[in-house]
Amino acid sequence: MKILVGYKRVVDFNVRIQVKPDGSGVVTDGVKLSANPFDDIALEEALRLREKGITTEVVVATIGPADCQAHLRNGLAMGANRAIHVVTSDAIQPLTAARTLLKLIEKEQPQIVILGKQAIDDDCNQTGQMLAALWNRPQATFASRVEVTGNAARVTREVDAGLETIEVDLPAVITTDLRLNEPRFIKLPDIMKAKSKPLETIEFASLGIASGDHLKATSYAPPPKRSRGVMVKDAAELVAALKTKGLL
């Protein structure tokens, strides 16, 4: 069995993003880039399934600019067997990402595809669901527990009402939530080993995908600012302040 993992590079979660003064975008020059945290969780889950003997091969895939290679090497150092780099200089939207991943599925025939539930740059939370719909296969989104038995997976999902468990036939798409696992750290020798692992590059244009980038971003703005309020010195003052605001 083979697992395909979506592995997107994003602005690191610790970076406090700034909107450009002219509203044309956000400042990304020189900021730290990392793997999307949910994709590290996706890769970790795939590696654990391999360690359990459920799968034999883990392939990480990214759709991104030419300088994404180092990012993919990180995924290889973490433990993926192979990497696929679909090269495009444009920032693609989820529908295009899903169509591209579908092409890779046709080529690779994985039994499980694991993506993050959302990329923390666009915060779209769409790609996995779109992929499942296009592929006409099951989806188990927001997973916090995955059990694979035979030709099916039992997945516990973090939903607003609590924890939902569903069973899906394979092949299927799974998207990860934060508590699925804690990704391992990369060790130095693994970085060396990763250098010789296969990394395939495919030109996005060669895949002949109809672009789904239908949305046009026209302007960017910082969020309305909440400012610092008052400090009170004890519980009695807090109650008084809440009463003044009519909240008690």
Partner: protein
């Protein structure tokens, strides 16, 4: 003609208030019609509730045993089929329900999705948050395509109800439904407390609370205030409370009148979940904690000393 289809969210025969919030968003677009679609094995009670929401033109029901649980793979082809009957917009709440199913509908229709709509400037121009709410982007969608969107529920109050009595129509969708996805169970923590997503008051605890046992102090204060309980990711990860209490970028986005953050440092991923709260109160022993930069009322000190004092003073 602008015709909006809203996907009703419901559980155990009750309509979720997120649906009425979608109606408010839909009204902002000033459409010719707002229809609500109820997919269920027994839709009548939910449809009756939806028909009362002011602004709703019509309620459509699809009854099918396969719709007894909201499985995206089962719901999506039915929604797409109804959407093809002349709708210009399909809206769902940006809750785990809507996030799960809406992108499938968009993909089946071959269109993009606008996630987390916080404002509609016109029928095809929307504002949405990106980078954990650190930037707001305005996006323009093509006017010649169906617009699929999820509505950031904290940005819209629930539409009122009572004066409306929209007609309820049974619809049949002739689509084949997959059997590859099966519901097993839903583990729901039983609670008599207000629902976190719609509560007027919320008391949240963070890592500073220290343990599952200590969290009793948060629950007690919440009960005294008639508040819902929330938590930071750190508190959930540490097992103090269940995951459905997490507030933030990857948890629930809420807009209560009063939000109390206790033993929470104020990471951006947490703050993005409470930006629309009326009044934010922070209690933290570290006067430098970032939560104080946005709190309306701040109190520095040990929560284990301050909370009992606060309960006394209430």
């Amino acid at each position: 003609m602008t015709k909006i289809l809203i996907i009703a969210e419901h559980l155990n025969g009750k309509l979720n208030s997120s649906t009425a919030r979608c109606v408010t968003c839909a009204r902002e677009i000033k459409p010719d019609a707002i229809d609500v679609l109820v997919l269920s094995d027994a839709p009548d009670a939910v449809a009756a509730e939806a028909a009362k929401i002011n602004g709703v033109s019509k309620v459509l029901t699809v009854t099918n045993a396969a719709n007894s649980h909201a499985l995206a793979a089962v719901y999506a082809p039915q929604i797409a089929a109804v959407a093809r009957n002349g709708y210009t917009h399909v809206l769902a709440p940006s809750t785990t329900f809507g996030k799960d199913v809406a992108p499938c509908v968009a993909a089946l229709l071959g269109v993009a999705q606008v996630s987390d709509i916080m404002k509609a400037s016109d029928a095809h121009t929307f504002q949405r948050p990106i980078y954990a709410g650190n930037a707001i982007v305005t996006v323009q969608a093509p006017a010649d395509q169906v617009l699929v969107g999820t509505v950031r529920t904290a940005s819209y109050p629930a539409a009122g109800n009572g004066t409306n009595a929209a007609p309820i129509e049974v619809t049949n969708v002739g689509v084949e439904l997959p059997t590859h996805t099966r519901f097993v169970e839903l583990a729901q923590a039983k609670s008599d407390r207000p629902d976190l997503q719609s509560a007027r008051r919320v008391v949240s605890g963070g890592r500073g609370v220290g343990s599952k046992e200590n969290f009793a102090i948060i629950f007690q204060l919440a009960d005294k205030l008639g508040a819902a309980v929330g938590a930071s990711r750190a508190a959930v990860d540490a097992g103090y409370v269940p995951s459905d209490l997490q507030v933030g970028q990857t948890g629930k986005i809420i807009a209560p009148e009063l939000y109390m953050a206790i033993g929470i440092s104020g990471a951006i991923q947490h703050l993005t979940g409470i930006k629309d709260a009326g009044t934010i109160v922070a209690i933290n022993k570290d006067g430098e904690a970032p939560i104080f930069e946005i709190a309306d009322i701040g109190l520095v000190g040990d929560l284990f000393k301050l909370i009992p004092e606060l309960e006394q003073a209430l």
